[in-house]
């Protein structure tokens, strides 16, 4: 029997994978991929809560759709930033983009 807890644990594991990518990857695109994984984990939670906790409502799925939208916007703008950084600084390794550090 698959319960809400199963889905929550799965989503926690996916979230942590994304978090690990964000913390340890040097490549800007890879960090964005980690963020996409984290957003997916959040979406699993939203849809699972919709089914198990509030089956009469539609809010969980509606929220998941809005999160997907924001993920697409985030990917578009984030990848544009990566491109701009590549054009200006000729690197997409974020630890090499340190002009503003001191």
């Amino acid at each position: 029997m698959i319960t809400l807890t199963h889905y929550l644990v799965l989503s926690a594991l996916i979230f942590v994978l994304g978090l690990f990518a964000v913390l340890t990857r040097r490549n800007g695109v890879a960090i964005l991929m980690g963020i996409e994984l984290m957003l997916n984990a959040a979406n699993i939670n939203l849809v699972a809560f919709n089914k198990f906790v509030a089956p009469g409502a539609m809010q969980g799925q509606v929220f998941a759709l809005i999160v997907i939208t924001l993920a697409a916007c985030e990917a578009a703008v984030g990848l544009a930033l990566v491109l701009a950084a590549y054009r200006g600084l000729e690197t997409i390794y974020l630890d090499e983009i340190n002009l503003m550090k001191w």
């Binding site: 759709l65 997907i68 939208t69 697409a72 990917a75 578009a76 990848l79 544009a80 491109l83």
Partner: protein, 118 residues
Amino acid sequence: MLLDWGYVAVFAIVGSGMVALPLLVIWLISPRSAYPQKLETYESGVPTIGQAWSQFNVRYYLFSLVFVVFDVEIIYLYPWAVVARQLGPFAFYEILIFLVILTLGLVYAWRKGALEWV
């Protein structure tokens, strides 16, 4: 409903098997006689120069960018379309506002030349 998707899952799994099957067959029976010239990357017969994995023009990105935004817009139109008949006139103006705002995006991209292949 889950039964429907069970069918789709079987279709995907059996389908991948059926696509992989001919590959397995030729892996067993196809001749193998490789030599360096044959394994070279095809470049119209002249020796290959460098790798193909190099940088490409940014114009591809602008198109896929506008595509992503419009693709996301379209997913909101599917659920609206199936209930359009039941919703009546007021919802028409709601969706009109939605479409007008996004058409502004298309107009902006057009005017800024993001849709030009230069």
